[in-house]
């Protein structure tokens, strides 16, 4: 019953006119950016984040999360209609979704994607509502030792599961942790790495880091590839899925939801890995695997459900433990901190309307997306045809005004410019920037817990091996590192990734 009371509180918050409006704006913007190739959710959320600072915390979060899961929907539309992944998580949807479109079943493909995603979103929302309080109970037992161990595990796993070289990912996490330490030291108040600049005493503005490394670097690297895209406007006469198709889609959707819900929970997991895993499993289970790649319905329905479920359940570690499992969640934590809400198990107690309101809004947002997506397809088709040269000056200006508006200062713009150059360098030597952002957010927290743990143990490093929870988490992290460093497994991992890409 308590569960229902909580959800009731959440719906009360989410159904206010203001929050509904921003939820709608969020999913609409999210769908649009999901559809536009070359503009990802991370860059967009970084771009719009400063504008949410003036909103209520719950309203701001509702809008940001709307963008995030809206982008999963939009990405599949592009994948199906143009064979271009609008989002990295919809790479798999290209394979069979686009083939379905070419076989004249574009409408059905879009409908299956939308309904599958909605089903997955509904289940995932219920999972979040049911499991978050349980996980938060566990988190209340955590002391500094366990928190530190969990962050080590989280960062290791996130780096491991992110694509790209593992060792460079670790280096990026460390770089992020270091950058996160800039500013006043919590215990002594000493200004570290500020080089005498007063504006650095509160640390580097994380929106500037995110925009520089993602939004602006993306622009630099995308400008060359700006070509007109051929969109074969699909025949949308029959949007309705026929009985046979529905039957073929049903089980894969359920399986995809299950896979996505589990993988979304893992640090570094989330939408993309969930969709790859679901595709692989559907192909293995299929009676006629030779149909895959030629418009198999299971090859579309499963991954679509999985990516949406994964996108949603990746909120659980962020909301209950304060640990971001991917770049977008790192930005959400930053947004919470701007509103003086410390992410972690206490959010549920201290700001229940934020927590449950966000969860309720996810379900509402998913429902909006189904209603929104299908009738607006002609509009989305037009949007795919927008040229990149129109898009990127708009992104630049909106970002600049946003950076300025954070504290009416030009400083963040200069920092973003600097991080653009650094981001280009990272791109050049193929170092993935998302782990850096995770490290950047967790840097100060990690130091705090590390120092507190050793203060409690009076300098005895063995304290990390006295708590059973901490032993388990640190050992898992160590095993992951070992496994990845064994060349045999590393090779097969890279094969797995090229196969998927």
């Amino acid at each position: 019953m308590e569960f229902l009371n909580h959800l009731g509180l959440g719906f009360e918050a989410a159904l206010s006119l203001n929050n509904l409006t921003f939820c709608f704006i969020g999913v609409l913007v999210g769908t649009a950016i999901g559809i536009l190739p070359g503009l990802g959710p991370l860059a967009t959320i970084a771009m719009l984040l400063p504008l949410t600072y003036s909103l209520d915390p719950v309203t701001g979060l509702i809008m940001i999360s709307g963008i995030y899961y809206g982008a999963q929907y939009g990405g599949s539309t592009t994948a199906i209609l143009v064979n271009l992944p609008g989002e990295s998580s919809s790479v798999v949807s290209c394979l069979d979704g686009h083939q379905m479109a070419r076989n004249g079943r574009a409408g059905a493909a879009l409908a299956i994607a939308a309904i599958g995603s909605f089903f997955a979103g509904t289940i995932a929302t219920m999972l979040i509502a049911a499991f978050s309080p349980v996980l938060a109970e566990v988190a209340f037992l955590f002391g500094p030792v366990e928190y530190f161990a969990m962050m080590v595990l989280g960062l290791t796993a996130a780096t491991l599961l992110a694509h790209g070289s593992f060792i460079k990912g670790v280096a990026m996490v460390l770089t992020g942790l270091i950058l996160g330490l800039v500013g006043a030291d919590i215990n002594s108040g000493t200004y570290r790495f500020t080089f005498g600049y007063f504006s650095l005493t509160e640390g580097i503005e994380f929106v500037a880091v995110a925009m520089g490394l993602f939004a602006f670097t993306d622009i630099v690297t995308n400008i060359r590839g700006d070509q007109a895209r051929d969109v074969t406007t699909p025949s949308l006469r029959n949007l309705w899925v026929n009985g046979k198709e529905a039957k073929e889609a049903a089980l894969p959707v359920v399986r995809g939801t299950a896979i996505g819900s589990v993988l979304g929970l893992l640090p570094g997991g989330g939408a993309m890995i969930s969709s790859f895993a679901s595709y692989a499993i559907e192909k293995r289970l299929a009676k006629r695997p030779e149909e895959f790649g030629h418009g198999a319905i299971a090859g579309l329905a499963g991954p679509e459900a999985a990516n949406n479920a994964g996108a949603q359940t990746s909120f659980i570690p962020m909301l209950t433990l304060g640990i971001p499992s991917n770049g977008v969640m790192a930005l959400m934590i930053g947004a919470l901190m701007v509103h003086n809400i410390a992410p972690g198990p206490y959010v549920m107690v201290s700001n229940p309307e934020v927590f449950w309101g966000l969860i309720a809004s996810m379900w509402i947002g998913n429902a909006m997306l189904v209603v929104l997506n299908l009738p607006l397809i002609p509009l989305w088709v037009r949007l795919i045809q927008v040229h990149y040269w129109i898009l990127y000056p708009i992104i630049l200006t909106v970002c600049c005004v946003g950076l300025f508006s954070i504290e009416n200062s030009l400083q963040p713009i200069y920092f973003a410019a600097g991080f653009t150059l650094v981001g280009c360098l990272f791109w050049r030597f193929r170092a993935e920037a998302a782990p850096l952002l995770l490290g950047f957010i967790l840097g100060p927290l990690m130091e705090e817990h590390f120092r507190r743990a050793l203060l409690l143990s009076n300098g005895d490093l063995a304290i990390f091996y006295r708590s059973p929870l901490s032993i388990v988490m640190l050992s898992v992290a160590a095993v992951m590192c070992l496994v990845i460093l064994l060349p045999q497994i590393r090779r097969s991992r890279s094969v797995a990734f090229t196969e998927n890409a």
Binding site: L51, S54, S165, I167, K168, V170, A171, L174, T175, L177, I178, L181, S188, T190, R192, F193, F216, I219, V220, T221, I223, R224, D226, H387, Y388, W389, I390, Y392, P393, I394, L396, T397, C400, V401, F404, S405, N408, L410, I413, Y414, A416, A417, T420, L421, C424, L425, W427, R428, F429, R430, A431, E447, F450, R451, L454, L455, S457, N458, G459, L461
Partner: protein
């Protein structure tokens, strides 16, 4: 560039991380270290700096010996122009106002594209100025001046 290893991503990455880690470790020496039980502000950055240096050297060694991934060639003109467009925006927005900052940014940024034409730049500038006025100044009340002088 680097002993004809300039197409090797890991060599560059290794150098970058080694230098950054070394710099961090070096700079953190100026802060109090404290003891393990009561760490000063310098200890944690020093640990991270040393770890990063070690990993940077490993990446460097891997790059020199095994080759690894090749670098992607960075489009220099866009990288330069996009960064410049940000700096120019920052320089103009408070001094002259959005009416100068937005067109300047659009011109410089669009110059990086193969699709640059004067007409397109002007049209985009006007559209963006209208958008900025309506959304940022009128609706959101951002304290950014349209005309500062």
């Amino acid at each position: 560039m680097f002993f004809r290893l300039n197409d090797k991503a890991d060599v560059e990455a290794g150098l970058f991380f080694t230098l950054f880690g070394g710099l961090t470790a070096g700079l953190s020496l100026q802060y109090q270290m404290g003891t393990i039980a009561a760490m000063g502000p310098g200890m944690f950055p020093l640990i991270l700096g040393i770890m990063l240096t070690a990993i940077g050297l490993t990446i460097l060694a891997k790059g020199v010996m095994a080759g690894g991934e090749t670098i992607r060639s960075l489009p220099l003109k866009p990288a330069f122009l996009i960064t410049l467009s940000l700096l120019v925006f920052a320089a103009l927005v408070l001094a002259v106002g959005l009416v100068a900052a937005v067109p300047a940014q659009v011109f410089i940024a669009l110059w990086a594209s193969d699709h640059f034409t004067l007409k397109r730049a002007i049209a985009l500038s006007i559209g963006l100025l209208l958008f900025c006025y309506l959304v940022f100044i009128y609706f959101l009340g951002v304290a950014v001046p349209m005309i500062a002088i």
